[in-house]
Each structure stands twice: as structure tokens, then as C-alpha cells.
Symmetry: D2
């Protein structure tokens, strides 16, 4: 069934990238629209589907096969023209302002990525510092680095597919954070990425905070499956998953993890792996939190961490069950420490320069049957190293579940095969099965077919 | 059980009345705090109970018997000190900003009322034009009259005590209105006065409307029973119920009525009575709307109007059931007419000067057993005149239900007695009974004991 | 020769009084335009002659005899229509924005004066506190009382008719004050009322002060002769000369006096008289300053004060010759004392409530041949009392020189006659003659004919 | 004599580049401060000497030999520390805000130049389009390209060393332009670069234009000799003289040339050369203007142009003598054409993309004895080509007069030698001698020793 679609011209909103160079315009246009145009179009489509709960990209792509977007320079600034755009982005034929602004954020970031970054060169070994510079510059050109501000960004992680009890809980946590003036940064999709922003927004209205920040960090590979929720007012497209993860921990002043699936596990493993390898003390507090009904989830995660990465890793976070107010009060108190810590080591509030990230966490990992089967999944390695391998395994599973390229690979070659030593593989299998059982792998409504096989060497 | 209370000093927020004269400070302070102080204290307490769903004032009064509030002038501006204030107005010991701002709105309006208006003089016969001037000035000093704006204020009326289906419906209507850029004006309490604002706020966030208006019009007699909901960002205390009603129709560019009880019926009767007596054409569109489940409510109201005020009255409104989007689209289209109409008669957009209000609707009505029993409830009078008498009957019932003074009267002398001709009284009785049956007279949780008796002459 | 004139419609600028009540509009319009309309018209004409150096009102009046101004309410706010307006208020047929804004300031204040103040009642004996309230309210409704600000308003007094050396000196003083962030308040005409603002503006641009304040306090009787200079961005029309003088000392945090004529002498006598009668310590520092070439002026004034009001009066000011930078540095340092003083007596920064003004300085003085001849000009009275009589004498001379009514009186009855004891009258005569000799009585270009005679009893 | 100096720390002002990457900080610091640091230091020193009229760089350099400036990152943003800085940049020990802001503009542009531009690569033949991109990006990162604005930037050129009659004339022109809402863009030094801004500022104050633009375009080689005047509120350091010239004509919507010396002649020759080679019609109006007393200057220039570049070149400008108001009115009218022209060729208002600049005008010209002697100064070449050679000759003379490097060359090797055919060389000699005679080569107070010799082949 063809969806309702609309053609429209959007002048650049105030505050957006509104002045483009000839070269920038050419990068995304021309007769033979290239790879960057494709990425731009896909991200733009995701923004125009803002708020939809559907992680089946193939279906979306089919539905809006004729969607097209072009830059049309005008005397007074940039103009985007869309054809066959999803009607849900409009009210009575006029584009919703939030969609407009996010569309221009996409334009800004894809142009930056196309013209200023050389990902191939950055991917070379030994380029960790340059990668961090690239993360900094991507965030700065998106105007996300604010001088003269005290620490107040809470990064919230958790599943895009969660039940209503968990969703309401994320809203309540957001509300309590918002009452205390915190801004929210998430991966910008549905579920646990949306709830904290919704809750915070209600509190920000009560506290008359006129310029609240709802930062959504995404990347071209995931945006289609996790279309930005409509509250996001700072949408940033990072170049790839590793730079997105780095952006989270460079920006955030506190991290709250809600229950989730493989993506959330990837984030946890990334975070613990990095923090174990860092040497300046812990840069920010980390909390795992869930409603009473979902307490088991973190018990399982905690157990998995304890038995794989060890008790040192467990010291890096606290678990708070069913107490949003206490969580918010504690985070608020911990901000004083974060400030003092940054000052004492002469680091910036707006970008966590001195948090050392081992390059093994910065190197882009492209999950294929080959790279997945070559993961080094054994217990006899330093915990941070093990964390890096496990996070890649999770990353591959996310790709196989919801990313276009990953899904295509699985279609062609069957499930990814994960090899490793027996003890570890059993633990991993147990964890993944619990995700499946709890329906955390896909949005409800579809039966989940695993995209991986766990094999004991 | 004593409630948790807090002592606090509040400096005047930016944009509030922050500079007071010696005389103004003295009006609300001094050793023997007078009548105006009492009104100020009661309104302030209501604001600090913002968001609470409790219309039992006596209980609230007992709970915060020791609440006190004082003006303390400071070198840089005004400062309010509260003692034994409700803890719910605070987060971690700091007053919520929205509460602060509304507290200063109360201060502004009570000072204005105390020092600039002479209600006794205004109450004299033949002072209709002066009353309208007083309504204008009260609104202007509250900064509610905005030049250079197109018509976009929708006044929403409806019950403070409604069920969740109706509440969700008011939110959805607010959402659809907000998507189209409308601002919301209500009586500022819970229920149908809160829902449209909540819904609109979600839409305003999506539309990036940075200065949405959630105007709450109240008066000292009702504010305690209908404490301002926390979204209200323009709280205005009108001097009394009649001036509050006049403010609604001078400010609004469209009126939407949701199901409600005696208060809503009062508003409907006031509105129809005024419009029937006006001579410049209809100044704004009026819609009655409800979810499918509550359609009967407006069938009953419509029938009552038809059989008492007649078909001319019925032409003044339309009924839309279960279609918030259509309602919002229609209102949006009708705004063009409102603009043209105002321009053609050279009236202002921000204040509906040329809508003639018969003085019978402006005269303050103080419900007592005497005035209630003297109401002229007979069919053989002009419809607008009948509307004015019926609206007073409803006003008295509201007072007997939830206003401090009215409740005291009922305690002392038993229910109000309403006399009138048989046909009319039967219709009225039927309508009021339906309100009771539908639990629209009081907030849920308490059994309703009628404060009136309908007596056939 | 008829001047070039223009017809024009001015919509209310943002931030001005843009929403008027029917009653307010009627006050200044109607078929038989009354006294308030005449005052409004005269002030408006003065504003439209902004920047002109001509204190000959009769000539101006003749030139723009056909000038007319009317309020035309519009759907979106107020609109003023001018007919036969001075072309100098326009650029290529469009009204200069600063003129627009000041025109609406006139409208705001004349409406306030017409509808809110009862000057006759205020003039009754024993109404000192009410007069101060009236000054406060006039300033507050003009948005001139800013909360949350540190003391930084320097009141500058001095002649409207000064030579270029003195004018350049006032600019340099303004520049040095502006560099230190001071705002400037003057009587809003040419000469020493304009120079400090011009100088401060250059400094404010360098210091990137985006909202500098150039407050011009005037009154209907003087505005025509001293048309507001075009830098004034807060024009306030006080009801009469006494309230204007009170406004200066309630608003200011420091006072700088430049050389001037009878008007400046009036201000000095008023100031010293008030300060000698006050009991809370000196509320602000006072400096007399002049370029080297004009040092004699203050030597003469100082001598006159010493020999009439006595050495106590001389302690209330300091004289600084030819050192603008030192003056500004000193004033800047003294602001700390002003702050401490206000805090210690719990007074406001924005309005000097606790400075006691003896009612003899608040009573309106209308100079006629009768009142001038009855002045109590003898040495055997308390200094503050003598100051009040001398200030009235000066006030009458200003009126006879440049105010419409005063000039008319002189035309009809010849010069005012000032009686008093011999010693005092000789001193006074000497002072006045020095003003005439120094050409401080009228703008250059016209021969000065004294409007007074000094008579020894 | 050592000058008064001050040490100071400057936090980044709001709106400036306030968030720096590690790499950016390192570029301008470190133990062995490199070439970019030297450029940064020199530009910073020039800004701190803002407003000084002294083009003798050597003397300035000696005076502030110990001046040092360093970036010190802080938790809340960037911080600059200066040592031994000129006291004139401070008031009572606090840095003037305008100096602060311009200091951070220098930081922004030098970092951009250091990290984003590769001047050597840009200098390669055939890179014209890339040079234009570089000009665009330099301006955009300086926030100088405003979308949503109508054409209103007038570029004013003219001498840094002019007499007071000419200076007052430039102020009056600026005033008339400012009254009509024009913004001003100049080379940011004294004389004709300052006057129009001063005049415009007075008018902008009257017109209540809250965000006027005073754009100063400079480059590292000239900034020391022509220190930014203190009104400049958008200071932009272009990489070199050719990109600065290109920036002028890409940004401007109208060009006004006042009398000047070799620098002004360079600008005129550049402008005419470019316009003769362009093919989209004239992108903006050009006026030469002077007071009556200096009319001869443009008669001489006009004659030189007519007899070298020919009558086609003369058609590109108009000469208006002694009529600032008429000039401003005409420019205002011509803006409509500029708008229509840009729209018709689909060009931007904020950047004149479609004005074709022949690469001969984009190639950097470094004046040395060799390059100067090799200039192709003969009449038998296309006029635009001849213009490009003559503009280089003038550029070399400016360097020899006031640029550090040029002066050093002259010290070492004596005057530049200019060869060419007899007729042309005589004309050139006549023109240059008139500049010397009119004291347009250096600021007054020093005797001018020519840095060139004109030699006939």
C-alpha cells in the first residue's frame, strides 16, 4: 500500500547551517548522485519518519522508494526540496518545525562528513588522537560544545524495544533529572532513548528552562532503524558507531543505563572497557537502573560482567532499582565531584579530553561473517581487551538485527558464527537468550530469528 | 497529619513585577494583616499546591494553617518570604521556577486589585463600560494583551473533575491545537483546564514554539479549589467571577467546551446569553466537543438549551464528537474569519472591545440563600435574560460545592433553594441530576451531597 | 517661510505602550481636543524636532502651526498619525526609529498623567509621601526602575546653552563615564544634556554595551524649549518641574554638574536644599566639574553658596577642574559606598526611597509676578529654607526665559520683581549678571533681555 | 621610553570561538613557538593598539618587544593570557570589551588559517575555484555570511592617512548611509577606514539599529600598520592581500571609494580589472566620492584610468563630489537593482559567487625587487591584464611603505625599480607624485622617502 506523501520546499531555519559553498552543494547533488547523497537521503528519510516505532528498514525503504531530497540554493540562504516525503512530517501540508530543524542538522553533518573528514585516513593505525579530534570537530560544528556551562548532561542508554512499564520508568527518571536542570543525551530513537527526554521535558516546562537540550547522537547505519524521536532538538549524525560511542562519553557528565538488548550491552561493554583502561580516575558516575519488575535484567548483566570482566569492572557502576528520585538526587550531588575532578586535572567541562580511550575501542569494526568469526573470545586476556571483543560481538548482532548492511549479509550467508572458549561462550549464550526471551532484540510484533550462532571451540 | 513544609525566600524572577512602591508593600503587610493580605495568602497557597487534585479547601486550609507569606524589599528588587509552605512546591529544597513565577503573578494582581480598583464603585449600576476598562487594565498590567499578534488564543472550558477518557481527549484536542500554533487559555485548574495545555505543550515542543502561552484565568474565590496546574505560564487573578468570565471572552479567538459540571454550565449560559445580546455578529467560533463515550453529555446540554433558550441559542455553537484533528483544522480555518471580522469592525485582535456585554452579565452576583431564592427562574422572559438567571443559579451551585464562602453558607443554613416555574425547574433538575450521576460535581473520592434544592412554585 | 512637513502613520514600536484602552484613546482625541491633547501635541512636536538647537518656542510654534497628531487604534495595536510634521524627523520619507520610540514614550506618559494622576489632589498640603509615590509610579510605568542592577546611573546637569569648549568637555566626561559602564541621565535637551550622552555612547560602543541607557527626564513646560536630543533612548515626561527634580535624585547614583545658567543654578539649589534637610547620610556623591577655561564659573557658584547657604552646604560637593578621567575613576570608586549605604539602610538601588525631601521642595511652584514678588529672600532663615526660596527664584527666571507661559507673563506685565534683603540681593544680582555675561541665559544668536529685576528692600 | 604595559587573562567572550581542540591549542603554543604563533602575536598586538594612529611598525614592535600572548585552556572554555600588553587596551586595569572580542576574532581566524587552509596548495595554478571556496569558508567560519538578509553592506575604501576635511567627509557619508540602515565594511584601520564607521554608528543609534555591523577585513601583513579601529565589531583576518580583496567584492553590495594613496589605487585597479573581466553584468554600484576640496584627486585618478584602461573602465563607476546625502539616497535606490540582479542570475545575497575573478587577480603577489622589476608595465595588453600589473605595482609600494617585510627589503636593497614603456611610466609617475605631494603615502609627522623608482625602458 503506497503511503501518503507530500512535496515541499524548506528554507533553512534560523540557527541552522544556512549558507553553503558551491562545493558543498555539489557534493550532495549532481546528475549522478553518489554515495554521500545516498547517506544523506537515508538520514533525511529517517528524520521525516520521526517518532515512528518501526525498526524494519526494508519495509520503510519500500514504502518511500520515491522519496527524493535536493538542495536548491536561494538568494537568502539554503533551501531543501523534498519529493514524496512521508506525510507524517507535516501538519495541514506544512512541515513540522522540529522536523525542519533536524533535517538541516542532517544536512550540516553529512556535508561536514563529506568535505572535512577522510574516514579512510582516520582509520589508519596510530590515529587515535586524530579520531578524538574528529569527534571534537564534528560536535563543535554541530554547536554541541558549550563553553561557560557547568556539567549537566546525562547520557541515557537503553533498549529501543522496551515494554510500557520500563518506558514509564525511563520517563519518570527523565522527569526527576529534568526537575534538577539536567539535559538529556541519548541515541535518539524510540524506547529508552525517548522516555527520558519526554519526562525531562515536562520537568523543564515546570522549571521554565527555556533552552533545554535533548541531544540525539546517531550514525548513518542506525538512524533508519531508530528514527529520531520528535523531542530531539540537537540531532547529530556521527560518522560511525565507534565515533558515536566516543561522542557519548566525551560529552556526558553522568551515564544512566536502562534495560535494553544487544545495543545496550554493546554500550555497557564499551564503557567498562574504556574506563578500565583509563588512568585519570573515573570521569563521571555510571548508574544502571530499572523498575522493580525488571530488576532481574541488571542482576543478569551484573553477573555476566562479574564473571567475565571481573570485580574491578563491577566497581565502575552502581545499580539503583525503582527509585528515580534518589537516582536524580545522587547524580546531582555527584556533579560537584565531576566539576572538581575536571578542574583538578585541567580538563574541559564540555569535552572530556583526558579520558583515555584505548585505540582498540576507536578502530571501526565492520561486522561481516569473517570479522565476526575472527573475534578473540577467550578468557585469558586483559579484561579491557576482552571487553573490546565482546562489544564487537554485540555490535555485529545489532547490525544483523536492524542495520541495512548487516541484514543483507545475514540474508546472504546465514547467521554470524561466534567462536570462543566454552566457559565464555556459555555465559554469552545465556545472556543473549535472556535478551531474546525478554523480547529486547526487535520491536514487538515480529518473531525474532537470531542472526548469530554461538559456537564453542 | 501535619504535611511536610518548608521556609524559603524567593527573589523576584526576571519579567515579573519586581519593583514595588512603599505603599504597595504596606498594603499587603503590617502588624494587623487585613483582608487583602488574606486573599493574597490564599492565592499564594493555591499556587504552591499547584498540580494537586483536591478541591476540598477546608482540608487544605487545615493542613497548611501555619503557612505565611511576606514581602521583604531588598536593594535589588522584591523578595517574598514563605513560612511553612507546602513541600511539593520545591525540589531538593529549592522552589520550582514555575511556582516562583506564578507566585509573583499573584503578587502583581493582588497589588493591582488592592491599589488600583475600587470594586464597590465599579459595582454601581450603569458602570458597564468602566467594568470593561477594569478587565482591560487587569489584563494589560498582567502583560496578557499582545499587540502585533494574529488571533490564536483558544479558550478551553470544561470540568475540573473528569474521568481519564475525557481527560485524554482534552489532551488530544490540545495536541492538535498546539500543532497548529494555537495558544491555550483555561480556568487554570485540573481536569479539562489542564489537559489541553499538556497536549498543546507536546505539540509546541515539536513545533519549536519557544514562547507558548498557557494562560490561566482565575479569581480569589475559586483558586483554592482549583489550584493552578503547573503548566500555566501566565497566571492571572481576576477580581471576581464575572470579570473572569468577561476576560475569557475578551481575550479568546475561539472557544472549545469540554464536558464539565455546574461551572461549565455556568460558562455556557454566560456565553450564550452574552452572544444573544450582542449586535456585531459572532466574534469567535464556539465548539462543544467530547469523546464518543461522553457524547450524551452534550446531547443533554443541547436539549436543555434548545428547550429553554431556544433554537437561536443553538445556532451559536457546533458540536463535534470524537474528532480532535477535524476540530483543530476547522478552528484554524475560522481564524481567517475572526481576523476579517475584527478588521471590518475596526476592533483589536488582542481585546474584543466591540462584543457588547449586557450589564446583567457584568454585575457581581454573590450567592446567598437570599439571592439564590430570589432568582427569576421563569420561561416568560427574553432568552438572554433567562440565561443570566440560570447562569447565576449555576454560579451559586459552584460556590456551594467548592468555594469557601459558599460552603460556609451551606453549613450554616442548609442547601440553597431555587424557585421557578414548573417546566423550567424540571429541566434544570434533570440537568443537575445528570451532573451528579456523572460525578461531575466534585473530584472523585468523596460522596456528593447536593448544596441546592429545586423547588417548583 | 513655511518649513518642509510630512504626513505619516506610525505603528507602535516593539516595547512601547502598544495596547490602549478605549478610555485612554478618548482622553487624547475627540472633536473638542482638550488641555491634555494640547500638552500631548506640544511634547510630540518637541520630539519631532529632536536635536534642533532652538529654544525660541514661539517661533517653533509658528513654524509648525498646522502640526497635528492623532491616535488611530488598529487591529494589531496602537497607531499614531501625524500631519504637517517636521521633515527633520524623517529620512527619505520614513520616520527615524528613535523619534518613533520617543513619540510613543510621550504617548505613554501623557496618558498616564491624564488618567492616573490627580495633580490638584497631589498638590494639597501634607501629601509629600503621595507625591513620592507618584514619582515612583511615573518612573515604573516608564520601565525606568530596573531590579537586579547595581548602582550605575550618573545624573548630569548643566546648561543647554554652552560654548564648544564646555560642550567638548561634557563629551569627554561622558566618554570616561561610559568606559566604566555608567549610564547617563540628563534633562534631555541640547548642550550639557547632550554632550555626556554622546561621549558615553562612543565608549559604550567600544565596551560593547548592548543596552546602554540614555535617560532623558523632562516635563511639558520645558520640553519645547529643550527638545530631546536624538540619543535619548528612555524619554520620560514627568508631570511638572518639581517631580522632574525629584525623579533625578531618586534615580541617580551620582550627580555631575557642568556649567549652566539659571536652570542649572535651580538644580544645584534644589539639590543642596534637599541634602541639608535629609537625615540618612549623603545618598550619592556630587561633583561640579568644568574645563580649565570655565573654572571661574564654579568659583563664583561656590562663593555664592558659601556666603548664603554656608560651609555645611559646601561640604556636600566636590569641585574637579579639567580632569574627566579622574572624575570617572572617583565616581566608580564611590559606587561601592553608594551600594553599601543603600544596603545598610535597606533602601533600593533603583529608587532612593529613604532620601527625605522636605515638602517645601515638592510643592509645585507656579512663577507669576505675584508669586515671584512674594518669595522670602532673606538671610535670617534656615539654610535649607533659603535654598528653597532661591531655587524658586531661579525656576521663575527659567520660565521667563524659555517657557511658553512664563514668556507670555513677561510680555504682558514686564520683568518679574525679586525683593529681598540687600546683602542677599546683591549676591544674587552678581550671580545672575555673570550668567548673562557668559551668555548662559539663552542659546547664542539672540540678544538676552532679562526677564527679572532684582530689588533691594 | 618603555610604554605602560599590563598583564591580563581574558576569558572568551560569549559568541566568540570559545571551545578549542587540543590540536588547535598546540598550533599556537609550545616551547618553540613557530611561524603561526608569530603571526598570531603580531595581529593580537595590533588589536591591542586599536585606535592608535601610527603606521610605523618598527617603532611599535620595539615599544612592545616583550609583549606575549598564550592560550590557557580552562574548564569552562578558552582563556588568553597576555603579558606586557599595551595599557591603552584597558580601562582601570580591565580590558576593553571590544578589544577582547577582536582578540578572539584574531584567535579564531589564525587557528582557521593554520589548521584548515593550505596556502601553498591553494597557490598552485588553476586553483581559482578553490581560492574562492577558501574565501567563502574563511568568511563563514567568522560568521560574516548572513542568510535571510537583504543586500546592505557598503564597502568603503580610502586612505589611512587623510586630512581632517576628508575625514569629516567620510564620517558624513557614513552617517547618511547609517541613516538608511546600511552596514559598513572597510579595511579596518584609521582614516577613511574609520570615518564611515564612526558616522554610521551615530546614525545607527538614532535609528535604534541594535546589531549594526562594522566589518573590518585585514590580513597579517597590513594589520600592524593599520591597527583595527575600535568600532570594528566584526574583525576578520584574511590569509593574504589577494583574498582580502576578493572578500571585499564577494561581501559588498555597493562600493564607495574615498581619496587615498597607493593602497586605494591598488583597490581601484583590482576592482576595475575584475569587473572588466566579468561576464554577468555589474554586480554592485561603485562610487568615487570626495569633499569639494579634494575633487582634484578623483579628476587625476579618472584621467589616469581613462588614459590607461580606457573609457570602458570609466563606465564602471560614478564620481559624486560633496554630496553625502545624494550618494546615500542613490546607493539605497541601487540596492533594488542589486537584489534583482542576484535573483535573476540565482546568486546569493551574502556572497557574490557569480562574479568571475580572473586568476591573475587571485594569485598571491609577493613584492620583491625581482617580482617588482618583472612587472609587465606596457600599454599593448588587454586592459584587465594591464590593471592586474598596475595593481601589483601599487601593492608593492604599499608593502614598501608600511608592511614589515617590504620595509625590510627596501632597507636592504634600496627602492623597488619599476620598468615599463615611456608613456605609461610617465602617467604612473605623475600619479604617484601627486600622492606624495598630497601626503597620502604615510601618516603625517614623518617625511616620506619613496620606496620605488619609476624607470622608462
Amino acid at each position: 500500500m503506497p503511503s501518503e506523501v507530500i512535496d515541499y520546499s524548506v528554507l533553512s531555519p534560523v540557527g541552522s547551517v544556512d549558507v553553503l559553498s558551491m562545493n558543498e552543494v555539489n557534493t550532495l547533488s549532481g546528475l549522478n548522485k553518489g554515495k554521500m547523497y545516498e547517506i544523506f537521503r537515508r538520514c533525511a528519510l529517517a528524520v521525516m519518519n520521526s517518532g515512528i516505532d518501526n525498526d524494519d528498514i526494508e519495509q520503510l525503504e519500500n514504502q518511500y522508494r520515491d522519496f527524493d531530497i535536493n538542495i536548491v540554493p536561494q538568494a537568502r540562504g539554503a533551501c531543501l526540496e523534498v519529493q514524496n516525503a512521508p506525510a507524517r512530517a507535516f501538519v495541514d501540508g506544512k512541515m513540522i518545525q522540529g522536523v525542519k530543524e533536524n533535517l538541516y542538522s542532517v544536512l550540516r553533518d553529512i556535508i561536514y562528513l563529506s568535505t572535512q573528514l577522510d574516514l579512510d585516513e582516520l582509520g589508519q593505525e596510530g590515529n587515535g588522537a586524530q579520531i578524538t579530534e574528529a569527534v571534537f570537530h564534528t560536535l563543535r560544528q554541530a554547536n554541541a560544545l558549550k563553553a561557560r556551562m557547568d556539567p549537566n548532561i546525562i547520557v541515557c542508554w537503553g533498549g529501543h524495544s522496551i515494554g510500557s512499564v520500563e518506558y514509564d520508568y525511563t520517563k519518570e527518571v527523565g522527569y526527576q533529572l529534568g526537575l534538577r536542570g539536567f539535559d538529556i543525551c541519548t541515541g535518539c530513537g524510540p524506547g529508552a532513548m525517548k522516555g527520558p527526554m519526554k519526562g525531562a521535558n515536562v520537568a523543564h516546562v515546570k522549571q521554565r528552562i527555556r533552552t533545554p537540550r535533548y541531544i540525539g547522537l546517531t550514525e548513518p547505519g542506525i538512524i533508519a532503524a531508530e528514527s529520531p524521536n520528535p523531542i530531539v532538538n540537537e540531532l547529530i549524525i556521527m560518522p560511525d558507531i565507534e565515533k558515536r560511542l566516543e561522542a557519548f562519553i566525551r560529552l556526558g557528565h553522568g551515564i544512566v543505563v536502562f534495560p535494553g538488548g544487544a545495543g545496550t550491552a554493546e554500550e555497557i561493554l564499551y564503557l567498562l572497557g574504556v574506563l578500565m583502561g583509563s588512568d585519570h580516575g573515573q570521569a563521571f558516575p555510571v548508574y544502571f537502573t530499572a523498575p522493580k519488575e525488571s530488576a532481574d535484567y541488571f542482576i543478569e548483566i551484573d553477573e555476566f560482567i562479574g564473571s567475565t570482566l571481573g570485580p574491578e569492572a563491577q566497581k565502575l557502576y552502581e545499580i539503583i532499582i525503582a527509585d528515580p528520585e534518589q537516582l536524580a538526587i545522587t547524580l546531582n550531588e555527584r556533579m560537584t565531584e565531576v566539576k572538581e575532578h575536571r578542574k583538578s586535572i585541567q580538563d574541559a567541562f564540555y569535552f572530556n579530553w583526558l579520558l583515555k580511550i584505548n585505540e582498540v575501542f576507536q578502530e571501526p569494526f565492520v561486522p561481516t561473517h569473517k570479522t565476526m568469526s575472527e573475534l578473540d573470545l577467550h578468557m585469558d586476556q586483559p579484561p579491557y581487551q576482552l571487553a573490546s571483543q565482546l562489544r564487537r560481538a554485540m555490535s555485529g548482532i545489532v547490525a544483523g538485527n536492524v542495520k541495512e548492511q548487516g541484514i543483507a549479509e545475514i540474508h546472504k550467508h546465514g547467521p554470524f558464527k561466534l567462536h570462543g572458549d566454552k566457559v565464555l561462550m556459555q555465559k554469552l549464550d545465556k545472556l543473549l537468550k535472556s535478551f531474546v526471551r525478554q523480547k529486547r532484540m526487535k520491536l514487538p510484533g515480529s518473531k525474532y530469528v537470531p542472526c548469530y550462532e554461538v559456537i564453542t571451540d
